[in-house]
Every structure is written in C-alpha cells, then in structure tokens.
Symmetry: C2
C-alpha cells in the first residue's frame, strides 16, 4: 500500500494533477480499473486523498507538503508518531496575499541584527499599510532600501537593523513600496 502511495505521488508531481482510475490501474499494473477504485476508497478512508463532488480524486495535505515537527528540543519523533504529524506547504504558511507578494534578494548587511543576512530572500507584500516597527522596502531620495519603519507622531524614520548604520530621515520623498512579511534562507 505504501509503495502504491509513492507511485501516485510521483504521478502527481510529474503531471501536476491526480491520476484517473484507469491511469492508476495502468500505473500499478492492475488489469482492472476497479482494483484502483477500491484502492482509492481505502486511501480516502485513511485520509490520504479526497474526492470532489464529481468523484475526481483530489490530493490531501500529505501530497507535496512538508511535515511540521515540534521544537528543536523535542528532537525527532519515532516513526509511529510520525503519522500524527501536521503538514503544510511553505507557500500556504508564508503567503497570505498571493497576488501582491513578491520575492526579493537581500544584499548588504544593514538588517543583520534583525536576522536578515545578505543572500537571504525576503517575501514582500505590496499595497499593505505599513505599521510602526514593520520592516519595509522603501525608496528614499532615489534609493531603494530595506529598513525598520519608525513612526513617532508626524516624524517618520527608517532605522537599520545594524548599529553601524545610522537611521535615515527622508528629506525629499519617501515611497514605501512593500512590507516584508517573511524571510527565507537556503544553505
């Protein structure tokens, strides 16, 4: 059963859709669609997949998602526990407004005390009202930067997350294009 599951996942990854019953039969070497049908019924009962109103198979979370464990201190669960683990896609987890979200690469170390290093990717959301303390992407006097937004009364300051740099008080124009909603780093 687990071997079957893996093959269906492979199909889904390649075809970007779930297979039909005939395709499952072909995939697993069954000579009858009904064998595939019964298999899918079992998988639905096991919570691995679901069916929509027209009977088509739709993938559940397990397909192409990442397992969420506890904290570092908790260590790794045993295989028996693993079945209870929650799963989620990174996109679902990190992005609320998909249409307005973009990825930007970070260069420079002006936010390093905020844990944002050069080479990191930040997810930014456009058209989001910036709040005090948010990290924003802004155009100040012709240059694009990423900084903390500090509001105190009418006064607006762009503060770096690095003691070596000085806060910027915009003179001519301040254009806040986006708010940083997440940071991502790949090793």
């Amino acid at each position: 059963m687990k071997k079957y599951h893996a093959k269906i996942i492979a199909f889904y990854r390649k075809a970007k859709r779930m297979p039909s019953y005939g395709e499952i039969a072909r995939l697993l070497g069954f000579k009858s669609k009904n064998a595939a049908y019964k298999l899918v019924v079992k998988m639905v009962e096991a919570g691995l997949v679901a069916k929509d109103s027209s009977g088509k198979i739709i993938p559940k979370r397990i397909f192409g998602e990442t397992r969420v464990l506890g904290t570092v201190e908790a260590g790794f669960p045993s295989p028996a526990e693993e079945e209870l683990i929650d799963t989620i896609t990174l996109d679902e987890y990190l992005i609320k407004n998909k249409e307005a979200t973009y990825m930007l690469k970070v260069s420079g170390d002006s936010m390093i005390d905020a844990g944002i290093k050069p080479g990191d990717i930040v997810l930014v959301e456009r058209n989001k009202p910036p709040k005090n303390g948010d990290i924003v992407i802004a155009e100040v006097d012709g240059n694009w930067t990423m900084k903390y937004l500090r509001k105190s009364g009418r006064q607006i300051t762009l503060a770096p997350g690095n003691k070596k740099f000085k806060p910027i008080v915009p003179e001519d124009e301040l254009n806040i294009a986006a708010v940083v909603t997440a940071v991502v780093r790949k090793y």
Copy 2:
C-alpha cells in the same frame, strides 16, 4: 482575457486541479465548450498553461507561484516589466529531498549570530551526511540541540552561533539526526 485568467486560477486554487473545458465554459458563462476550447488554445500560445498528451490542461508556473524580483536595491519594476518576471514555489526553491525534509520550530537563541532567532522555522533534512560547518540537529548526551558542526581530524565539536554559549564536545554519545537546509521566518 485577464479576467478569465483570474477565474481559472481561482478554480485551480479551490479544486486543486485544472478545470475541464466544460467547467471553464460554465465558469466564464459561455454556452459552448468550444468557446472555452479556443480560449485555452490562446492561453497555451501565450504560455500561461500547457496541455499533456491526452489534451488535459496543466498549469504553468504562473499558477500559484511567487514572483521573483531582483535585489532590494533594484526596487520594483514597472508593470510592463512584470510580465518577464520569473516565478517559483517556495517548496521547490527550498526543498530538494521532500521525503526526508521536516520543519522544526526554533526555541532558544543559541544560533542567533547565524541569523536564526527563536520562533523561526528551520527545514531539516534527515539522512543527509553532515559536512564540516553545517548546522545540524543533534542529540548530545540526551539533549537535542541545533549547532554548527565542526570537525577537525577525529575531533568533533558542536559550536553555537552565539558568543555567550560555549562549544560542546560530546562525551557519551553524539547522534546527528538531521542537517539544517533552510531557515524561514514569518512576521
């Protein structure tokens, strides 16, 4: 045409699959499947979607993915340029070996100088041979921690990314469970 595109994306997000031609017609208010068929032909020509060997519609990158811009300094492109932007899913970007990758929440600030703060999520890959300098999840003398792995000859040290903590030289047992492959932070 853009309005149509948006509705099809919405269908895909809900149903987790691309609609059939009949469904597209219903979705867009057409009274004939053929209107949908011709629309899809245009979308294929425009590179928005593709078809597999059986004629079924498969989504292209634009569906459900995140746009990748340049660096922070480059700022935001104009709407005209946006059409040329590359897109990717975060899962594709961050995860190489899906079956062996897990998410762990970070607690404690022992890796803060490495830009990993409490509350961050780390992606860890199991069964990956750890190299010198990698950040690893390890069980040392009964406790789970996240540290830099330092090898020098036969000597193995677990070094924190925080000057306030001291490196750990494992005494009894050292069990390296996983290697950190990415860090993710949500604001």
